[in-house]
Amino acid sequence: MSLTPEGSPVVEAAAGIEHIDGLFSYALVLTRNRSEAEDLVQETYVRAIRAMGSLRIGSNVKGWLFTILRNIWFNQLRHRRTAKVVAMDGEENAVDFADTAKDPYAFYVSKMEHQQVREAIQRLPADFREVILLREFEELSYQEIATILDCPAGTVMSRLARARTKLRTLLSAAFKTSDFARKEVME
């Protein structure tokens, strides 16, 4: 998705498609339901295309897409009042482990570690899940996250600190696994 010097949007096929994994992860972190997350991502792109005229040159397209996704989700929640929490299925197929597949042991450790990370994140409260995803996985700045969450940057900082403390506790087992695996590989 890009803008011409005159500021009019240029429609390219699959505009912003490079952010689809990030948006899908964010949608899953919010909804905790695969099918809802997919619908949310699709709706985000549809709304983005329609609203492209409001974008200005130099706009943060990535942050904008995440904001759209979040707004859609919270609007839906307001209508439904309660969000359904359904266990996710087929997670093993969701991530491509091809890079580590050359070493079966490393692959196993990596897969186990990845699974532990996902489970730990999904066990966090919703507002913690969001900041962790946006900062650690999407590498957005405090200010960008604050814009998406519509809160002060100071709130992002404190929320992130508390989320990390909680996540570290939840992931203590993963740390042990990683350390053990690394030692074994080195020996």
Binding site: I17, Q42, V46, A94, R118, S141, L160, L167, R168, F175
Partner: protein
Amino acid sequence: MNSDDEHSHNVSLHLDNELSDQELEDFRAHLADCADCKSQLEEEQALADLLHRSRPLYRASDELRARVIAAQDVSVSGHVPERLHRRVLRLLKQSMGPGELTAFPWRAVATIAFVFVLGMVFVPTIARHARAASYVDTALTTHRNYLDGKLPLEINSESPEEVTAWFAGKVPFDFRLPTSQLLPNDQPAYRQVGARLVSYGNSYAALVSFAMKNDRISLLVASSKSAEAYGGEEIVSRGLTFHYQTKGGFNVITWTTHGLTYALVSSLHTSASRSCLVCHQNMADKGEFREQ
């Protein structure tokens, strides 16, 4: 915030690249003398490393990618009237100064009538352009995604008959591959590799992949009710009009026949006529594609 809290706070800011140059320098100086902060930094770094190794947290499926592309396609097509509406409003604003609409109603009516007539003349053309551009964009995105391994083939076959039979009942049209008569004792310059379904609009289109030496060629086939071949450089051959254009570094040729619209995407670096000739070099109709 006391001094300890501030340093602890700076550990996070440091990891998140949120410290200014001066703050970073001060923090590094502090870190050299503070075992507690150093230990906290290592702990935080270990957590960050673990999370970063798990990127992306989830990966969108091919089906979702296809759905998004299809949804955007529909959205873009639906955008044309809105843009036209804006253009009409701008024209109206330019042709009338502020307040003129109420002060000179007959002039306003005449302007609106003029714009309306212009619209009647150009709207079908604009809509046709938009549909054709949308189909070309879909063909390009599909080709790119196929090259990137995001759209694996669902059937691997060199047999046109087998691929045609595979699409039967899967696409909402009578799929047929374009044909061209080979010269006696000659082989086609390309080889069919396989095919798959792809989303297009609210329905499906057929993607057929061909290989020619190291190049890959994609052929997207959709019903001419939903896909248009229009614009670009036109080449007429045997009663068919081929529309050639270069977009995003790829050559795209579109044409319509038998109620189907075809879009052929390749990376061949040559002109329109010669691009056709690359595949038709051993065909009986190669004379139709001589450089004009």
